[in-house]
């Protein structure tokens, strides 16, 4: 009888293990989504997509996925702190905006005077149009050393819908001082 119990136990354990391992990718994606939700709002969708793509490309099996997800989770607090500080830094610059709004072709952008940053408002444009807008502004201001794109959903007043928006900050080697 004991042998039967043992055999049953082994079979049950194998079935539970197989079931668990089958759920690991979904579990990891859930954990990564929760990790992304701990980041500042403007970075969430970016990191969630980036991590999910990396999870799929990860060599190895479910155990590697779990380890990788655990390690990513361990760094989320630090990542959130870095992103938050950068956001506050940018906000400080934006608070000091004295530049006017400019229009180049079909889109508006704001020059942040006294800084190395030109912030372009390219809300509601397609990614291709956003890239074209960046190209035009870059041609205006010279050597580009950094790009920061943030995508988020923006509520449309009175319509109860959300519209995808893209905000881009271009960082130049020299402070932009002239307007188009």
């Amino acid at each position: 009888m004991t042998i039967v119990y043992w055999a049953f136990g082994i079979l049950a354990a194998a079935a539970v293990t197989e079931e668990f391992l089958g759920w690991v990718p979904a579990l990891c994606r859930l954990v990564l989504r929760r990790c992304a939700n701990r980041l500042p709002e403007h970075s969430r969708s970016r990191y969630q997509e980036e991590w999910t793509a990396e999870l799929r490309a990860l060599p190895g099996g479910p155990i590697s996925m779990l380890i990788w997800t655990g390690r990513t989770r361990a760094g989320v607090r630090q990542l959130a702190s870095v992103l938050r500080q950068a956001h506050e830094h940018r906000q400080t610059i934006l608070d000091g905006v004295v530049g006017q709004q400019f229009t180049l072709d079909d889109f508006d952008y704001y020059l942040v005077a006294g800084s190395y940053e030109v912030m372009i408002d390219i809300t509601a444009l397609s990614p291709a149009q956003a890239l074209e807008a960046e190209r035009l502004v870059t041609a205006e201001y010279g050597e580009l050393v950094g790009v920061d794109r943030a995508e988020f959903l923006e509520p449309e007043p009175d319509e109860g819908i959300y519209e995808r928006s893209v905000w881009t900050t271009l960082i130049f080697a020299d402070p932009p001082t002239c307007a188009s």
Binding site: E49, A53, W68, G75, H89
Partner: protein
């Protein structure tokens, strides 16, 4: 641009970017393999490098349906990052000092040959 605190881990990442040059793009998983850093360490470093303007990141320009996988986030060194990275590596080498110390020679007297 924000200031960047240079640590040994940051230098490991910078070294990989410098070796690959300005045109080469790389993604997180590849960087983990090349630097030996864990994901929890690497992503905050990449974010710091990006905020400092040393690297830029952008989505891979592929259609997921064509390549059969989600698009990746690619990272690329900037001109400013290359200059600052080389400077940081040089400073580190100076601080670390010469690494050409010779191993001690065997004492010939011990073998009765002196």
């Amino acid at each position: 641009m924000t200031e960047l605190r240079i640590t040994v881990q940051v230098l490991k990442v910078i070294r990989v970017f410098l070796a690959r040059g300005l045109e080469d793009r790389t993604y997180g998983l590849q960087l983990m393999q090349l630097t030996g850093l864990k994901s929890g360490t690497l992503y905050p470093i990449l974010a710091r490098l990006e905020q400092a303007g040393w690297i830029i990141s952008e989505w891979e320009a592929v259609k997921p349906s064509d390549v059969g996988r989600p698009r990746r986030r690619n990272y690329k060194l900037t001109g400013a990052g290359q200059a600052a990275g080389l400077e940081a590596m040089q400073e580190y080498r100076q601080l670390a000092g010469p690494t050409t110390a010779q191993p001690p020679r065997p004492r010939l007297t011990a073998w009765g040959l002196a």
